[in-house]
């Protein structure tokens, strides 16, 4: 058996690092951080627990920042960000959150991110951003270099972030903060949980109902323990986070989306609101509008291998007669599906659900079919 590679880079620690170690987590380097890939019960158990109860994830490695307009105008800050992303920021209601992508001038995706219009009193003209851990330095530099005068980026490295996900998440949080538990999907609120000031949004990365909770780093361990004290809640590592999001059909930056893929190829048109599709005015708008009109030459699809063997990232996709038509960008075992699942990019003509494909795994063609995503149904609370 081959040993995993180790890096000698000094690793950063989240405010919850000691909690993971105390729980017996297996720690691995991820995006420059020493992160829990799994706890002693293992990925399958953690995955299934999240689908059936509630999982608690440390996502403090992600980048949290604010965009702030000096003139305290939402329009000023919204216009500044709309110049970089294709989402409608202008029409966000206070406390509303949207998923979007930072785009390059050619329409390639530089990162994906969450944008929230801050609703706290005295914060008109503030947007809250959450970006990927591995991309935050590039993202912040990219954003800062393009901000107009009067709008500034404030990175908030001193914050912790955790996600509570699963069908029991609402009941668990309701005991600590009825106000947070009453949020609807993609809305947020500033609340007290166990005496800790938190920013809570109803969102996540598992396909389950759930919440993402931001708080000061020094309060993170106390909040983590308060949530874990509920018997419905178990700590979940990055391994299950990946299998959960794959079954939910959600993109992982650097794998399913990157600077070579456009939001339309990636099937993210739902994240570009009508006004932006029509008006453009974001980087790569010409390509995005052309692909909306004419269709993209290749598209991201779900793929279900027919046997038991998983097809991993990088597996070549062919037609049954051997024509190369694409590549797998995420693939593995789906515990809820109880079988292998994958996603990848294929040529438009072989992208219809049900199309027969072959995945080349260890040199052998593995029969597979284009499948509808998500593989496990979303259970968001709308």
């Amino acid at each position: 058996m081959a040993e995993p590679a180790h890096s000698d880079e000094p690793l950063l620690k989240t405010p919850l690092h000691a909690e993971h170690v105390a729980l017996g987590a297996r720690m691995v380097p991820f995006a420059g951080y020493d992160m829990p890939v799994q706890y002693p019960t293992g990925i399958l158990t953690e995955h299934n627990w999240t689908r059936e109860h509630a999982g608690l994830f440390d996502v403090s490695h992600m980048g949290q920042a604010f965009l702030v307009a000096e003139d305290k105008s939402h329009e000023t800050v919204a216009r500044a960000l709309e110049a970089l992303i294709p989402a409608d920021v202008l029409n966000l209601k206070p406390n509303q959150q949207r998923y979007s992508q930072l785009l390059a001038d050619d329409g390639g995706i530089l990162d994906d991110l969450m944008v929230t219009r801050v609703g706290a009193p005295g914060h008109e003209g503030w947007l809250y951003l959450v970006v990927n851990a591995s991309m935050k330095e590039q993202d912040y530099a990219h954003i800062e270099a393009r901000l107009p005068k009067g709008v500034s980026l404030k990175r908030k490295d001193e914050l912790g972030l955790m996600a509570l996900q699963g069908p029991s998440a609402e009941a668990v949080l309701a005991k600590l903060s009825p106000e947070a538990a009453a949020l609807s999907f993609m809305m947020s609120a500033d609340v007290q949980i166990d005496g800790i000031g938190c920013h809570v949004s109803r969102s996540g990365y598992t396909g389950e109902d759930g919440f993402e909770i931001s708080c000061k780093a020094e309060d993170a361990a106390k909040l983590w323990r308060a949530l874990l004290a509920d018997p419905e809640v178990k700590a979940i590592g990055l391994g299950a986070r990946d299998s959960l999001r794959l079954e939910a059909g959600l993109c992982l930056y650097g794998h399913d989306i990157d600077p070579t893929t456009s939001p339309i190829e990636a099937g993210l048109i739902w994240s570009i609101q009508k006004r932006r599709r029509e008006e453009g005015g974001f980087p790569g708008a010409a390509r995005v509008q052309r692909e909306i009109k004419d269709g993209a030459a290749r598209v991201r699809v779900g793929i279900k291998p027919e046997g038991r063997a998983p097809a991993r990232e990088g597996s070549v996709i062919t037609t049954p007669d051997g024509r190369e038509v694409g590549i797998v960008t995420s693939g593995g075992f789906g515990p809820t599906v109880n079988g292998p699942v994958a996603m990848g990019y294929v040529a438009k003509d072989v992208s219809a659900v049900g199309t027969d494909l072959h995945l080349i795994v260890r040199g052998k063609p593995l029969p597979a079919k284009v499948a509808a995503m998500p593989f496990a149904p979303h259970r968001y609370k709308r």
Binding site: M1, A2, A240, P310
Partner: protein
């Protein structure tokens, strides 16, 4: 009956002219939940160090290398339906294949149980 280990964490338990090959308890623990095992065909001839099987956890695929040269005379097809057996009982029901050795002296280059436990301590 002799059990020998490779530095890649395969074991071979020799009985007569054949050996049962699997992965060590340490290896299954490092892999995590095994969800798929690909076994060689019976009759396949392997040289020491050849890729003999593939074991996949939720996260990744890993190769299992032949600890000795020989012919595959039997495989544990039960693993196809129940790959988790590799985690539950790696030294017993979680075996991968039986190899008829062509060069018994290759065993001399492998680690004894005691040496292997020392080796595991040194890397963990």
């Amino acid at each position: 009956m002799t059990t020998r280990y490779t530095k890649d964490h395969e074991y071979i338990r020799v009985e007569g002219d054949a050996g049962i090959v699997g992965i060590s308890d340490y290896a299954q623990g490092q892999l995590g939940d095994v969800v798929f095992v690909e076994l060689p065909s019976v009759g396949k001839t392997l040289s020491k160090g050849d890729e003999a099987a593939v074991v996949e956890s939720v996260k990744a695929a890993s190769e299992v290398y032949a600890p000795v040269s020989g012919e595959v005379v039997e495989v544990n097809s039960e693993l196809e339906a129940s790959p988790g057996t590799v985690n539950e009982d790696p030294a017993g029901r979680g075996w991968f294949m039986k190899i008829r050795l062509t060069n018994e002296s290759e065993l001399d280059g492998l680690m004894t149980e005691e040496q292997y436990q020392e080796f595991v301590k040194s890397i963990s």
